[in-house]
């Protein structure tokens, strides 16, 4: 039996420590992990809890991230509660196995500390790894600060393990800005946290010798499509479960989460859509701009990146006052408009308001995104609104040195 961990009502934790505490409280059976900056302290923390008797589980050291996720899949198929952590190149090396985990419907939790992808090699935070996972069939939830990294890591187990979902879940936080920034965190006591997550209920576990089962079967053109469709439906339908689990978490802690977080959207004329730690920067900038210049700015932040909250984004953008929406992608788009821009635009097209849509690439490789720059972008959006059309290129780059870089223009509203 695991020892109880003494916790104060308020602790000073960084995002990594917060996530590792959540893994401890969920009493993970197996963590198979390979270290990578900036997510290493999460699994290092879990290893410490195992060694010191605070968790009754197994820490498996493996030779790569591909092996880490493979080990997690084996342990989950065997019937255990399983989690690990990774970032960037490690995430990329896991990519093949991520698809196996979701296709095999194993509710593994992966805490991802978002970091840029090489080349050039970079250890700082951007969303390239998070974007790389967007078609992998996992639920992807995004924490904007350390408290949320803790809360959502607990929530992740309850979502993924729900009998109507049974899918793996990623909990994202930004490298360094969240993972290494110590902040006040209000933890839940061990017994209450475990009670919230609940006992692990295995499905088709390989250690049930009375029902021998094959996991990871091959299917060709006569079966593959049906299995992928069933998997997609489970992911799309997980929206309801996510809403329920968020509501239950609010009952326990008073802290409210939504699949799409909205701030000051009721009367907004200009909206920024963005993810991660930049959301808090944008909220501050919007508040200041409202006070100082009377520009009515609102913020839309998809808490849930997958399943993509098309329904709630459409609802958030269906505000009669809304004229322009700027989608900010913290990932190199690789020859396209940003992914957030493309997906949010699809939802915005189904609104009555049909706001003007623009795209900014920003923060690549950890490039700072501060309040002044957020305000400049908001003022620019206001100029689009006043002109009735986009006055700049549709895709622009924030905080980039050198001549102005941009792509595509339109004179349409």
């Amino acid at each position: 039996m695991a020892k109880e961990f003494d916790l104060n009502e308020v602790e000073v934790w960084d995002g990594n420590y917060a996530a590792s505490q959540a893994l401890r409280q969920a009493q993970i059976d197996v963590v198979a992990a390979y270290p990578i900056t900036p997510s290493t302290p999460i699994v290092e923390g879990y290893g410490g809890y195992v060694a010191n008797g605070y968790v009754d589980g197994e820490f498996v050291m493996v030779e790569s991230e591909h092996a880490a996720m493979s080990g997690c899949i084996g342990a989950a198929a065997a019937g255990g509660r399983v989690a690990t952590a990774t970032s960037s190149q490690g995430f990329a090396l896991m990519a093949e196995v991520l698809y196996q985990a979701s296709g095999m419907r194993l509710p593994i939790v992966l805490t991802v500390v978002n970091r840029a992808l090489a080349s050039p090699l970079n250890v700082r935070g951007d969303h390239s790894d998070m974007y790389l996972g967007r078609d992998s069939g996992w639920v992807q939830i995004d924490a904007f600060n350390a408290q949320e990294a803790y809360d959502l890591s607990l929530v992740a187990f309850k979502i993924g393990e729900h009998m109507d979902v049974r899918l793996p879940v990623m909990v994202h936080q930004d490298g360094f800005t969240t993972s290494h920034k110590a902040q006040n965190v209000y933890p839940i006591k061990d017994d209450a946290a475990y009670k919230f997550v609940g006992d692990y209920v295995p499905v088709d576990e390989m250690l049930d010798f009375t029902r021998p089962v094959t996991h990871g079967a091959q299917t060709e053109e006569d079966w593959h499509y049906e299995h992928k469709a069933k998997q997609h439906k489970a992911l799309m339908d997980s929206r309801t479960v996510i809403d329920e689990v968020f509501a239950e978490f609010k009952k326990l802690t008073g802290r409210e989460y939504k699949r799409v977080e909205t701030y000051m959207m009721e009367d907004a004329e200009v909206a920024l859509v963005l993810l991660g730690s930049s959301v808090e920067t944008a909220i501050l900038a919007a508040k200041q701009l409202r006070e100082e210049e009377g520009i009515k700015v609102g913020i839309v932040a998809p808490r849930c990146f997958r399943p993509f909250p098309y329904d709630l984004i459409r609802e958030a953008l269906d505000t009669p006052s809304l004229k322009t929406v700027c989608c900010m992608d913290k990932s190199a788009p690789g020859g396209a408009l940003g992914a957030l821009f493309n997906e949010v635009s699809a939802a915005a097209y189904a609104t009555k308001a049909r706001p003007i849509m623009t795209n900014y690439i920003y923060g690549l490789g950890g490039r700072d995104f501060a309040i002044d720059e957020a305000k400049r972008i908001m003022r620019e959006q206001k100029a689009h609104a006043d002109a009735g059309h986009i006055t700049t290129d549709i895709q622009q780059f924030s905080g980039l040195r050198g001549p102005k870089l941009g792509f595509f223009q339109t004179r349409r509203g």
Partner: protein, 149 residues
């Protein structure tokens, strides 16, 4: 000497073509592509003979999965000493043996790898490889005699 469906009583080994399963829709496929070996629970499967087990329709035991074999082993009962060497070595459990007596070859699962022939210790061998289309009786009629060492 091969054992065919009708000769096996209730045994459902190789009774269906591979891919002959009912093609259900996306709503009825198993979650996570899991395939159960047996119908319901089977706590004592390890102690039952294959023909006594309740194999699931998706278990390859019930399917004929050897359509691409181009050479086959033929078994000669007259030379066999029931040493069980071929039964031990066969990678596809396609040597059928009961009560330490060799009965024949499961042509629904044998892939024609020839390992059984390699490991057969008798002289002449009790198992030899022949073309898939050759008649087993013709093969047995022309069986080689004992070789001088």
């Amino acid at each position: 000497m091969s054992i065919t469906g009708s000769a096996r009583g209730n045994d459902n080994r190789g009774i269906r073509e591979l891919g002959g399963e009912e093609k259900v829709g996306w709503d009825a496929v198993t979650q996570g592509v899991t395939l159960n070996s047996f119908v319901g629970t089977s706590e004592n499967a390890a102690f039952l003979k294959p023909e006594e087990r309740q194999y699931n329709d998706f278990n390859s035991y019930t399917a004929t999965v050897a359509s691409w074999r181009i050479i086959k082993p033929v078994y000669n009962r007259d030379v066999c000493i029931d040493c069980q060497n071929c039964w031990v070595w066969c990678p596809d459990t396609s040597i059928i043996s009961r009560d330490k007596q060799m009965l024949g070859i499961d042509y629904d699962h044998c892939k024609g790898c020839g390992v059984c022939v390699e490991v057969c210790p008798t002289n002449p061998k009790s198992l030899l490889m022949f073309g898939e289309k050759e008649d087993n009786d013709d093969a047995l009629a022309g069986w080689p005699s004992k070789e001088k060492k």
